[in-house]
Point group: C2
Chain length 459, copies 2
């Protein structure tokens, strides 16, 4: 049995029965990391000692449960995970992929890290990412390129590239990414795993180093939909100390995840915006996904959804200017510490006038309102996650290709709507493609349910 290829549900069952220990599971992953990561470069920091200690504690909890009964430990107890390196971890450096934070040792965990630890998760390490989550090009100038495990000369995508690469390569069983313009969904799409960007305000961002206070979303990444739901269940909910957190109870995301897609009203975005720069293979894959949903008993309708274009633009303006505001001091005092492309984008942000910014915020309000009204007639919307599969790290059109990647994801950061990316087949080139499923605010349970139904057929 290859312990690095199990689902969280499978591993959790084995742990609870005592067929394996968290120590064994953790060691298997640490071994895989030392074997594969020198090539992949998915990890910035491996926390072997922390992991072994946490695994030991999880094994004690599991052992007590088996010997004396009582409440069953949750599905994450003893499960080895890894975190994008902008989640603050007490006593463990948290770099945000940047030299500014290269020596930053947080005094406390991010709220959601505490939640995962409370659930018994085991931390293998901190994952590579784009510099401050903003880099467009393919190589982190400080920590090196994270490679795509499906094709090592290609990017893993960003900014949560380390998360997707580690999951797909079997270096961890679950991860958290963060998403300001697509940074969870894009690497999920390019590497071939699952990434959920929840509704704005659903998951605490307290202790997550910001890119944009206005657009950042924390969310789970996993190898399958149920695993993503388990992680999401553990981190969703109101955080009274996070000003952006919404005071609304989390739903139950797991218990009815398998009830299928029958009866759902699904819009399939066929407008020009979704095809003009999109790889025909990707268009075809989403077409086939729409057919799958039809076969599952959903009602599928062609929709235009062309407001996504304006939304993508406004999200871009806001991201760079929000980031420039957060990094104001660094930009003034030590601009040379930023990588070239990040510095350029931050300077674009500085140059945005308040009038331009305010107009982008105005667009945000109007488009959010329009998008929500769209979902008065549909349960869900299907789009490609990315217009193209993983670009080459170094290649003739690398930057141009990379700049296309946020096109379909950013509109849902701007508007705060929940969206998942799930694997949707492979190009003729054997590169993974992603299907994006979007819903109205707080519809994560429905999104996960549809994603789960599709995944079962597509596998």
């Amino acid at each position: 049995m290859d312990l690095t290829k199990l689902s969280i549900t499978q591993a959790s069952g084995l742990l609870q029965k005592g067929d394996i220990t968290s120590g064994e599971l953790t060691d298997a992953h640490l071994e895989e990391i030392s074997k594969l990561d020198p090539q992949l470069n998915a990890f910035i920091t491996v926390t072997a000692d922390v992991a072994k200690q946490q695994a030991k504690e999880a094994d004690q909890i599991l052992g007590r449960y088996r010997s004396s009964g009582g409440a069953k430990p949750g599905a994450l107890c003893g499960i080895p995970i890894a975190l994008k390196d902008l989640y603050e971890t007490r006593g463990i450096r948290t770099t945000a992929g940047s030299t500014f934070f290269a020596d930053f040792i947080p005094k406390a965990n991010a709220k959601v890290v505490d939640k995962l630890f409370d659930a018994g998760a085991v931390l293998l390490g901190k994952l590579n990412m784009h510099e401050i989550a903003l880099g467009v090009t393919t190589v982190n100038p400080h920590f090196g390129a994270c490679r795509n495990p499906r094709s090592l000369d290609r990017i893993a995508g960003g900014s949560s590239g380390g998360s997707a690469a580690a999951l797909v390569a079997g270096l961890c069983m679950g991860s958290l990414g963060s998403d300001t313009g697509g940074s969870i969904r894009i690497p999920a799409s390019l590497c071939g795993c699952v990434g959920l960007k929840p509704t704005y305000g659903r998951v605490s961002v307290r202790g997550v180093i910001p890119l944009s206070w206005n657009l950042d979303h924390a969310g789970p990444m996993a190898r399958n939909v149920m695993d993503a739901a388990l992680l999401f269940q553990a981190i969703a909910g109101h955080d009274p100390l996070d000003p952006y957190s919404v005071d609304r109870p989390a739903d139950d995301y797991c218990s009815s995840i398998a009830i299928g897609a029958k009866g759902l009203k699904i819009g399939w975005a066929k407008g020009e915006f979704f095809s003009e720069k999109t790889d025909p293979g990707v268009v075809q894959a989403v077409h086939e996904a729409a057919r799958v949903f039809q076969n599952l008993g959903a009602h599928v309708f062609d929709v235009d959804f062309s407001d996504a274009r304006e939304a993508s633009g406004a999200n871009g303006i806001m991201t760079v200017s929000d980031a420039a505001a957060f990094h104001e001091e660094g930009l003034k005092k030590h601009p040379g510490k930023f990588g070239k492309d990040v510095l350029e984008r931050l300077q674009m942000g500085v140059a945005v006038t308040s009038t331009q910014y305010i107009k982008a915020r105005r667009s945000q309000s109007i488009l959010r309102h329009k998008f929500i009204r769209f979902f008065e007639n549909y349960d869900l919307l299907l789009t490609p996650t990315t217009p193209v599969p993983a670009p080459l790290i170094v290649g003739p059109n690398a930057v141009e290709q990379a700049s296309l990647l946020t096109r379909f994801t950013a509109p849902f950061n701007l508007t705060g709507l929940p969206a998942i990316s799930i694997p949707c087949g492979f190009t003729t080139n054997s590169l993974p493609m992603g299907l994006q499923i979007i819903g109205p605010p707080w519809s994560e349970a429905k999104i996960l349910r549809a994603a789960h139904a599709y995944e079962r057929i597509a596998q």
Copy 2:
């Protein structure tokens, strides 16, 4: 019987019994306007023909009700009102106190104007206001100074000065103002009437010429709390076509308004911010108001609430830059059409960088969150509405005094919390003072109830 001094409740009772007609009530007000308004300058446009026609229609409805029964007309049926001149009115020019809009004849009514007309209200005219709702100084450069009916050499306050002046002088029975930094509550305080700024998103702003998309609130102004509640009930609610409107049903604001203040936990803001620049007479008046609430059975506690200082600053930055964004074209093409002080403030807005603006938005999120948490321990908060009574129109410290006026009101625009101003006695100089009562989001019913209880004792 002086028909221009009745409350809406009294007038409505008389109308429904047939003791007076809306035609008589309307004529009495039109007469008062022609007698007093040449001095007060509360009206920019008087709509006598519209009023007479609407009064006729209201009298038909009231007549049918008396002769054949059926559903009782609402309390606003046949009641003469007037509107701040930034509420769009179909076929009636809507100037926003600005030469840019001097010939603007809207094709449709603002949503809330339609609501008032549906309720049977009669429109006497459009009311004077600060230029584009932004002017600080005391005289609208295009439409002249609106004078305070309590003391004609003093300002009525702004920006909804015409609304307060008209109410207090008996030129209309109810009005709508708008409030971006205090523009409903300040003139209510300075003239001695009631003004309610509701929760952000509670009242549609569709068809209200904007000052700041982010801070504008529409709300009622009246001569007493019950009248304000009746107007508020007519305009509150979700507007699916306004992107800033919140989809949440309105409460019943009138039926339990008279149950008193017993048991309410009330914070009385005594921090330095609320006293350092405040007229001692105003401090004393709020102190006495706190004692009144105690006598009414409320639990009153001294609180500091010093975050209001930062909130006031952030609101100022945002107001000028939001206004500059909305007036971008006018500023570029015809800057000379703005009055001197408005142009100066708009240019300050243009000069705000996106970084400064973003930091103000960040403060907004944090302070809103803090303020909401404050109300986990208190039902309501008491502050003065304005630190000083009405300044002179022309006087040694006129501008300096006027610039103090938004100090205590602006924090609740920034944070979107509902707040009312009600009369709170007179200075030794016989100038009205205002008490501000603030609550958490959606607590208008409680605010009105407390205001009503205080008003009964204080009268």
